[in-house]
């Protein structure tokens, strides 16, 4: 039960509200992990395609000798931006746990900008590829994977912006001491649960970005 349940003599309505609040906290925790599992299947499909076509290498067309791959510098920059964004946001999370709301706000804005820039660079790379999607097996996998990743990353950035706006509505003091009303206490706790879930998913996407970078720019 939530910490708020310790209040004496709750009415049935208050108990019901606490129940739904509890459900919200748990669903954020469970949903973030289910989302990661779902994303793992989605990215797993592309990783399977990568190794399947590379292993099959039909008519030597996986990565032909004269084939020019995607721009390595751009790909590395995208990966680094996403990793740094996740690290900055994670560092901000440790600060908000220490009741420094403004520190997390600053870190979150930086992480948001880095993530959006990475997504924009990825889109720029996709419209400026030196090969056609059907030029090789590698090309088809890359052209399938990159758009999916950039859409998911942009979705994560939209959620981060929502979290920033939610955090703005919470007074600094609420991160330091117990708010006096249910509404305010529930709001803080639900924000904490949502932020925790987001951090997990964004860190996971950073790991995925590194794996994709290794596959597309080093292993191919």
């Amino acid at each position: 039960m939530a910490e708020t349940s310790q209040a004496p003599s709750l009415t049935p309505e208050q108990e019901e509200a606490a129940f739904y609040h509890e459900a919200a906290l748990n669903s954020a925790w469970t949903g973030a992990r289910l989302l990661i599992a779902s994303l793992s299947f989605a990215f797993g499909a592309f990783i399977f395609a990568f190794f399947y076509l590379k292993s099959l290498n039909s008519h030597g067309m996986w990565y032909p000798p004269k084939f020019t791959g995607p721009q390595k510098g751009l790909g590395t920059t995208i990966m680094v931006l996403i990793v740094v964004s996740a690290l900055v946001q994670w560092a901000g999370l440790t600060r908000i746990k220490a009741a420094q709301r403004s520190a997390w706000m600053g870190a979150a804005v930086v992480a948001l900008v880095l993530g959006v820039v990475a997504a924009c660079l990825q889109l720029f790379q996709l419209v400026d590829l030196p090969f056609w999607p059907g030029a090789s097996g590698f090309a088809s996998v890359f052209v399938g994977t990159a758009p999916v990743f950039v859409v998911i990353a942009l979705g994560a950035m939209v959620y981060l912006e929502i979290l920033i706006m939610r955090c703005r509505a919470i007074p600094q003091i609420s991160f330091v001491e117990q708010p006096p009303t249910f509404a305010e206490a529930f709001a803080v706790q639900r924000f904490q649960a949502a932020l925790s879930g987001f951090t997990l998913v964004w860190n996971y996407l950073a790991v995925v970005a590194v794996v994709m970078w290794v596959l597309f720019y080093l292993v191919h």
């Binding site: 910490e3 289910l34 797993g44 007074p171 330091v176 206490a185 709001a187």
Partner: protein, 148 residues
């Protein structure tokens, strides 16, 4: 003729069908195993931990019958995020600005969001002290704005 065709195929078929079987299997087993371990073990859900005790003395203990100021209630509604209450979020919740319940109760459309202006007009009602035993006293009522 058949041998000639086979000899001309350069594909590494054995690796292909081995991967086709093994990769999805392993992926499913790994993810299912990890989820089982994560969900079956004791865990701490963020947000459940006690907030710090106030140095002011009074804070640290929630007061069930207290109602937040309209401004604080509105901010809390924004910060709390979407409602998961039964009824798709249009039912009463604890995160809504005080007074919205009055407005939503008088709606004929059944959609609180369509009556946002009414809710705004009704906000001064939140300033009215809640009567003892009023079920909504500690649970400021809901409106769709809180879900955004």
């Amino acid at each position: 003729m058949h041998r000639v065709i086979l000899a001309s195929v350069t594909d590494n078929s054995p690796h292909g069908y081995n991967l086709t079987f093994a990769f999805p299997m392993i992926l499913f087993i790994v993810i299912a195993g990890v989820l089982y371990l994560v969900y079956s073990r004791p865990h701490k859900v963020p947000g459940h931990g006690p907030l710090r005790i106030s140095s002011a003395g009074q804070a640290g203990t929630l007061r069930p019958d207290s109602v937040p100021e309209p401004e604080a209630a509105r901010d809390a509604a924004i910060a709390a995020g979407p409602s998961i209450a039964a009824g798709g979020g249009s039912t009463e919740g604890v995160h809504e600005a005080a007074g919205a319940h009055v407005a939503s109760a008088s709606t004929t459309s059944g959609s609180v969001s369509e009556d946002e202006n009414q809710a705004t007009d009704a906000e001064p009602a939140a300033d009215q002290p809640a009567a003892p035993g009023d079920s909504a006293a500690g649970t400021p009522p809901n409106k769709d704005e809180a879900s955004e």
